[in-house]
């Protein structure tokens, strides 16, 4: 294997059915691109779109609950709204948004030119997009998913004839999530191989930026968490459509089996959602505190600890099901245990900011907001490890408050921090800071007005997933406040969208290193050239780019190196210019993977197979199989990079 005997003769370049797309710019190039940065942008745009969709669903829920006996939605529409809000936020916003940042920045942070499998990367995105279109098409075709985002059996697994849920909702839900599983697994495998195999020389694991580290842990969690979900969904689908008995209690089947399989996926999923956020915050806080991350290796190892412990706590979602004292004790203890590495990280972030030269940019504000809100969510979370308390809180608004503090106060704040932090790198211009700060404060206030009262509503017994409540229970006032808060969050999102447009018009240019950053992505021009690095960087230290710019004097004070620096017009910016110039010269010789039609074609086959499964109709199967097989074979015969 180590000796090359002969190259293939050129004539054997296979005749690929479709002519290879050449364009790397322009509208159509987005459909065939294999550039990790463009795919990252597409992931981000899709996730942002679904964020708005899920937000509209949430607002409809809040309109319905704004007063007693709401009449905005029927019970069945309400079921659809909370099901699709949860499903969309978890699978179409949280996961793709993390993958968006990961796609764009993991290769840049490790000094690579692209990911390990550029076409599989594109495939992953198109599968997620196809899955989203497939699942949302159910609104037009036979009923949207309506069994809750965790789709408990036997509610979801009873055949349509059984009458538990009207329409094809759970079928669309199960098949759509299997598609998403395919997309997430391929992208996770891609991340792992990229991070383990394609780091620049000297980029040892313990020199990797924390965001990249967290994406590595998340990718491992994804690879192992998705299969139990897929298995559970297959059982649900078979129970509904082929009369298997997996969850039919009357025939000895066990509906609790589904809950176990789902939460074996579902709890690691929580960490799949939050660890990228922790990674983003761990990048932002050091930059705007002008200090290295406090306890880098502790942050890494507690991330790994969370990754392992995350597999041992799933049954705390099921304390109310009567698992028996030994089981609930074990899972209660494990839940207390996992609070430790999480709490450790909070102290690491505080230690990073403490004594730093703090610069309160919008990105920094969102990261600080993350730390505060996530801590609150963590506190109400660890309360659930106390089983007697949890049994009371199960299925009340207290739980809703808790996971929104973790996932909205945590993940979404981190995502917005990432937007403001990395926008200049991605698009070459800043987001407006003044609008950004308004965005932050409206969101912080709106978020707390929305979700804090839910704690009290939950403790006073308001159950989640009920489409109306009677007057006179003492829930009216708080629900009104919550609904107002919901619209404040929507306003904050609107401000962000306005900011995006406003900033794109104003185009305040950002240099390669606008924040005086620490990791490798700041060492190249903004936006980065298609080949990322003109010369593969050689990494000598953690925060390598920082050490190119600064050193310390005898008293430990920062001293700018003559070749380094932050200001765009300082003489030290010369190095960036030299870099950019070198890029132009060297870029031509760099061999990049060529665009391809086939990732899109293969992914486009999957919804047809999905419709064939839902409707059990052979006419959908034929185009689906054709696209799939044609795409895979043509893909297999197509070389990754076209010879010039």
């Amino acid at each position: 294997m180590t000796t090359v005997t002969r190259s293939l003769p050129k004539t054997s370049t296979p005749a690929v059915p479709l002519r290879r797309p050449k364009a790397t710019t322009g509208f159509w190039s987005w459909f065939t691109t294999v550039d990790h940065k463009k795919i990252g942008i597409m992931y981000g745009a899709a996730a942002l779109f679904f964020f708005v969709v899920a937000g509209v669903e949430a607002l409809l829920i809040r309109l319905q609950l704004a007063g007693p006996n709401g009449t905005v939605l029927t019970a069945s529409q309400y079921n659809t709204m909370f099901t699709m809000h949860g499903t969309t936020m978890v699978f179409f916003v949280g996961m793709p948004m993390a993958v968006a940042f990961g796609n764009y920045f993991v290769p840049l942070q490790i000094g690579a030119r692209d990911v390990a499998f550029p076409r599989i990367n594109a495939f992953g995105f198109w599968v997620i997009a196809a899955g989203g279109i497939f699942m949302y098409s159910s609104f037009l075709l036979g009923g949207a998913p309506n069994g809750g985002w965790f789709g408990y059996t036997p509610l979801t697994s009873t055949p349509i004839a059984g009458g538990a849920l009207p329409g094809h909702g759970p079928d669309f839900w199960a098949v759509g999530l299997v598609m998403l599983g395919i997309g997430s697994t391929t992208s996770a495998i891609n991340f792992i191989v990229t991070i383990l195999n394609m780091r620049a020389p000297g980029m040892t694991l313990m020199r990797m930026p924390v965001f990249t580290w967290m994406m590595l842990i998340v990718a491992f969690l994804t690879v192992f968490a998705i299969p139990p979900l897929t298995a559970a969904l297959i059982m649900v689908f078979f129970d509904r459509n082929f009369d298997t008995l997996f969850f039919v209690a009357a025939k000895g089947g066990d509906p609790l089996l589904y809950q176990h399989l789902f939460w074996i996926f579902g709890h690691p999923e929580v960490y799949i959602l939050i660890l990228p956020g922790m990674g983003i915050v761990s990048e932002v806080l050091p930059v705007f505190s002008r200090k290295p991350l406090f306890g880098y290796s502790v942050v890494i190892f507690s991330g790994i600890a969370i990754g392992f412990l995350g597999w041992g706590v799933w049954a705390h979602h099921m304390f109310a099901t009567g698992l028996g004292p030994v089981t609930i004790t074990a899972f209660g203890l494990a839940t207390m245990l996992i609070a430790i590495p999480t709490g450790v990280k909070i102290f690491n972030w505080l230690g990073t900011v403490y004594g730093g030269a703090v610069k309160l940019t919008t990105a920094m504000l969102f990261s600080l907001g993350f730390v505060a809100m996530f801590t609150l969510g963590g506190l109400s979370g660890v309360m659930h490890s106390v089983v007697p308390a949890d049994t009371q809180q199960t299925d009340t608004y207290f739980v809703v408050a808790h996971f929104h503090y973790v996932l909205f106060g945590g993940l979404v704040f981190a995502i917005f921090s990432g937007f403001y932090f990395w926008w200049p790198k991605i698009f070459g211009h800043f987001l407006d800071e003044r609008l950004g700060k308004i965005n932050f404060w409206v969101m912080l206030v709106g978020f707390n007005v929305t979700f804090f009262p839910m704690h009290i509503l939950g403790l006073t017994g308001m159950p989640r997933r009920t489409y109306r409540y009677p007057a006179g229970y003492g829930w009216t006032g708080l629900n009104q406040i919550v609904s107002v808060g919901g619209f404040l969050v929507a306003l904050a999102t609107l401000i962000f969208v306005v900011n995006v447009i406003f900033s794109a018009v104003k185009r305040k240019p950002a240099g390669g290193d606008p924040w005086d950053g620490r990791s490798l992505e700041w060492s190249i021009p903004s936006p980065p050239p298609s080949y990322n690095f003109a010369q593969t960087p050689i990494v000598m230290a953690r925060d390598d780019w920082w050490h190119h710019k600064y050193t310390e004097d005898a008293e430990g004070r920062l001293v700018a190196l003559p070749t380094g620096g932050s200001d765009d017009d300082s003489p030290s910016a010369a190095i960036a210019k030299v870099n950019a110039h070198a890029s132009e010269a060297d870029g031509r010789g760099i061999h990049l993977p060529s665009p391809s039609f086939y990732p899109l074609l293969v992914a486009a086959g999957l919804p047809f197979l999905g419709y064939a499964a839902v409707y059990q109709d052979i006419y959908y199967l034929i185009p689906g199989l054709f696209l799939l097989l044609f795409g895979i074979y043509a893909w297999g015969l197509e070389p990754g990079t076209e010879e010039h």
């Binding site: 294997m1 180590t2 000796t3 299969p227």
Partner: protein, 232 residues
């Protein structure tokens, strides 16, 4: 500086370049003959396992949990009381399934020989052993189809009882994996017949082989759990 090529895309799609020495994946230009560089080979910034192989290992580890979920389901349901309809004792023919299982395991041996043949550049033996692998797999699938038909004739189907549901879904999904493997092997065979699969592409065969061995190993577990454990 040297140019960089990231063609190591799908398992078994390295493009028309030279093979990829395991120690320096994804850092080669098509046409370059790069020996393992002692300075970088096995250094601290990559694992030394080729990208496609690492990806296949990760996929297989993921697939372990997929089968694990169905095997756990089977085990959970195998001694449930109050079941009606045929039980394992009523339908299984252990000698028959043992023979088809043995044939499936022998296909792994053929796969190893096929890989060894293409690594030496012996294309004739490579094709023979590849065909043998696919054929053994097809015999196994034929046995499974016979078994399913036979069980259905004896009154067991997916909706008869929990045994029927969990048995057919688990072994059916395994059969689907074997079928995909056969299609994959036959595609490699077709490429080899057209001269598109050379000694330099041995890694593509190796990746397919990893998948094939995995499917066999999973069958060992499934066979033990379903057929060999004393029936309740």
């Amino acid at each position: 500086m040297s140019t960089v090529d990231t063609t190591h895309d799908t398992p078994g799609n390295d493009g028309p370049g030279p093979d990829s020495p395991g120690a320096t994946p994804a850092r080669l230009t098509p046409g370059d003959v790069v020996p393992v560089d002692p300075g970088h080979g096995g250094d601290d910034s990559h694992t030394g396992v080729a990208n496609a192989k690492l990806a296949m290992w990760l996929f297989l580890s993921s697939d372990c949990l997929f089968f694990g979920a169905f095997i756990a389901t089977y085990l959970l349901y195998r001694d449930r009381g109050g079941q009606t309809g045929p039980t394992p004792k009523d339908v299984f023919s252990i000698p028959f399934t043992s023979v088809t299982s043995f044939i499936l395991l022998m296909s792994s041996l053929a796969m190893v020989l096929a890989l060894a043949a293409i690594q030496r550049g012996d294309y004739r033996r490579f094709r023979i052993w590849l065909l043998a692998t696919a054929l053994f797999g097809a015999v196994f699938i034929g046995g499974q189809i016979y078994e399913f038909t036979e069980f259905t004739r004896k009154g067991l189907n997916v909706s008869t009882n929990l045994f029927g549901s969990s048995f057919f879904v688990l072994t059916g999904l395994h059969g689907a994996h074997v079928t995909v493997g056969i299609v994959w092997l036959m595609s490699l065979w077709g490429m080899s017949m057209q001269g598109r699969l050379t000694q330099g592409d041995a890694e593509r065969v190796e990746v397919a082989g990893l998948y094939w061995h995995f499917v066999d190993i999973v069958w060992i577990v499934i066979f033990t759990v379903i057929y060999l454990l004393p029936q309740p």
